[in-house]
Symmetry: C2
Subunit: 168 residues, 2 copies
DNA sequence: ACAGCCATGTAACTTGTTACATGATTTT
DNA sequence: AAAATCATGTAACAAGTTACATGGCTGT
């Protein structure tokens, strides 16, 4: 629901049109997850269908402007007030992969090694991206990814240690 | 694609029927993400549609048994050999929420506080769950979540520090 | 004239998810 | 007899995603 609520939150600041929403969304969340412009419009249609936004009057340039409704405002409030729990998060593909590998794969250690290499490269790219990013919001997003990759690396080490212990 | 590839990986060990697949999947990945049995069958249909598995002969108990095809085996190999990158992961709802909150919300600090409380509670539940889990595979999954919540807590501290600095 | 950006939208698709229907077998 | 578990499946939907069509405007 990230995009859905993200756009709704942007609209709670004031009326916006679709193209503008993509710009602001990407300005906040950065280049790691590019947002296809088509998706903005599909998401806006669904938000309108659900009564959380409505089409306002057109721009002076004739652009279609959306504005948040009362129901939408309440929904944003609820969203900001509700923390994210582990159960809310989608299944982590890496975790599933390793869980399957330890039971299935000829050698799970190879999977771990390949992932570790990729993680290190990801870390390099993230630090480089952070160096090149001026926007504070985008830096926070990059920081989050850096912390997550660090956690991933720790977990990979841990998995390898557990595996080696089991084998011996 | 976690479920899709997860089931495919299980089938690469040998023929299985649907109910059994759910049991083995949950035995590996644990109780945090329960797998609805209906989803097993929808996913199996789609895997069959894509030529990655096929229906074999029925069980001695008359149960429908699926087996992996050559194409499926190749796909599993490819999956195990391909690392997960940050771009592969879905947008993190917490990250989006905070990125929106710092720019939109009356006070983002409240959002951070609420999340921190939830994170601490999540951590408690995860350590309790780990204490009660004998299966090594499930313990690894729980360890992954623990590392992730730790990273989340570090990031929340970091966000708060950055915010307070900006305000002053 | 043409390339590139601004701008809106739709059709088709994917995976994930749940609610429901159905019946057999096993346990209490 | 009733409850629980085993077992298979379908219908309907949500959210995310991309490819494509369409046209206006701007700078070279």
């Amino acid at each position: 629901m990230s995009i859905r609520y993200g756009l709704l939150a942007l609209l709670s600041r004031g009326p916006r049109h679709g193209y503008q929403l993509r710009q602001e969304f990407e300005a906040s969340t950065g280049a790691t997850w590019p947002l296809n412009i088509g998706q903005v419009y599909t998401t806006l249609s669904r938000l309108e269908r659900d009564g959380l936004i409505r089409q306002g009057e057109a721009d002076e340039q004739g652009r279609v402007v959306y504005e948040i409704t009362e129901a939408g405002r309440a929904e944003v409030e609820r969203w900001f007030g509700t923390p994210v729990t582990p159960a809310d998060r989608p299944r982590d593909e890496l975790v599933i992969k390793l869980a399957m590998a330890v039971a299935t794969c000829p050698d799970a250690l190879k999977v771990i090694q390949a992932q570790r290499t990729a993680s290190m490269r990801a870390m390099q790219e993230l630090t480089r991206a952070k160096r090149d990013t001026a926007s504070p919001a985008q830096r926070l997003v990059l920081d989050s990814m850096i912390f997550q990759v660090e956690a991933e690396q720790r977990w990979l080490d841990h998995c390898e240690a557990v595996l080696r212990e089991e084998q011996s």
